[in-house]
Amino acid sequence: MRNLTLTLLIAAAVAVAGPLWAQTSEPQGIEIRNLTSLSFGSFVSPAAGGQVTVGPDGSRMLSGVVPVGSDAFGAASFEVRVRGTGNPNYVITIPTSITLTGPSGSMTIDDVQSLPSGTGKANPPARLDTLTVGGTLNINALQPSGAYSATFPVTVHLVN
């Protein structure tokens, strides 16, 4: 008798769950892919440390550091594609800080910002949006020379 009760309850649960799964047959979905990296540029190792801010709009501000050489910079850019009906917002999740590592040291990126900030919308009919990410690189005093890099995730969620 105890086993029978259990079986019936499981069956009921599956029956209730069925229609909910079926809703996803015409799914709303969201995809993101990376187009360009977040690049701060090349700098002379500062005697007293400094900061480089690359805004999500691609602008750059320098404090206490001198750029040098092939000094390319830019915000990270992503393509966001929304599938399905309606025109939902999506929520953007970015790291609060990123640690770049080099041959013999590390640097921290903080004040990470996205554009759009917080939430975005991929309007029909294209349902494509461009999302960009910038941040502030903190270069330490006498930062060892070398190439520094890291990967960081950007996550988008649809909200209904």
Binding site: R2, T5, L6, L9, I10, A13, V16, A17, L20, W21, Q23, T24, G29, I30, E31, I32, R33, N34, T36, S37, S39, F40, G41, S42, F43, V44, S45, P46, A47, V52, V68, G69, A76, F78, I98, L100, G102, M107, I109, G135, L137, I139, L142, Q143, P144, S145, G146, A147, Y148, S149, A150, T151, F152, V154, T155, V156, H157, L158, V159, N160
Partner: protein, 180 residues
């Protein structure tokens, strides 16, 4: 009986959570972040080049301050005052690279009432032919030149004209440290 109830409760909760998770569709992608740091050579002026005070010579003359700060005069009577060679700290933020320096061929200093020429810049580098230039390509061989950190001294020769106007004469000159 207690075990069965626990089992049912667990399944029911699982079913409640699953549709909610699927209803909120999400996607994640990573980007690279990058920056490059290059070792830096720096040069900082700590002491000015000072020829001191002198009486205006009727027929002109020269005042030499050596890189060691020694004073010698020709046709001029020196009247005292502070005399010094210029001094610079040459440093590298990383490592100890070999460097050479670039000094001007000549500069003009002025008082408002007149001007004088300063030329023949000298340094405390042991091999000026290899390590000092007034422009153009790097000299060498680099093996004869110093490594950082280094305290660089610079002297020069001041040319005073006949009946040079009285006054306080000043000017600036650039000294550049370069890596080979």
């Amino acid at each position: 009986m207690r075990r069965a109830i626990q089992f049912v409760v667990t399944i029911a909760m699982g079913m409640m959570l699953a549709p909610a998770a699927r209803g909120q569709s999400g996607s994640s992608f990573s980007s690279e972040a990058n920056a490059a740091i290059v070792a830096g050579l720096s040069i900082t002026n700590t002491v000015s080049l000072d020829f001191g005070d002198m009486f205006a010579p009727p027929a002109g003359g020269t005042v030499v301050v050596s890189a060691a700060g020694a004073l010698s005069v020709t046709g001029v009577t020196h009247a005292g005052g502070a005399v010094s060679a210029a001094s610079f700290n040459v440093n590298q933020t990383q490592g100890q690279p070999i460097f050479y320096v670039e000094v001007p061929a000549s500069i003009t200093i002025s008082s408002g009432a007149g001007t004088m020429v300063v030329d023949t810049f000298t340094t405390n580098l042991a091999n000026p032919a290899a390590c000092v230039t007034t422009g153009g390509p790097a000299p060498g061989p680099r093996g004869q030149c110093p490594k950082t950190p280094f305290v660089l001294s610079v002297g020069a020769t001041l040319h005073i004209g006949a009946n040079q106007p009285v006054g306080s004469y000043t000017g600036t000159f650039d000294v550049t440290a370069n890596l080979f």
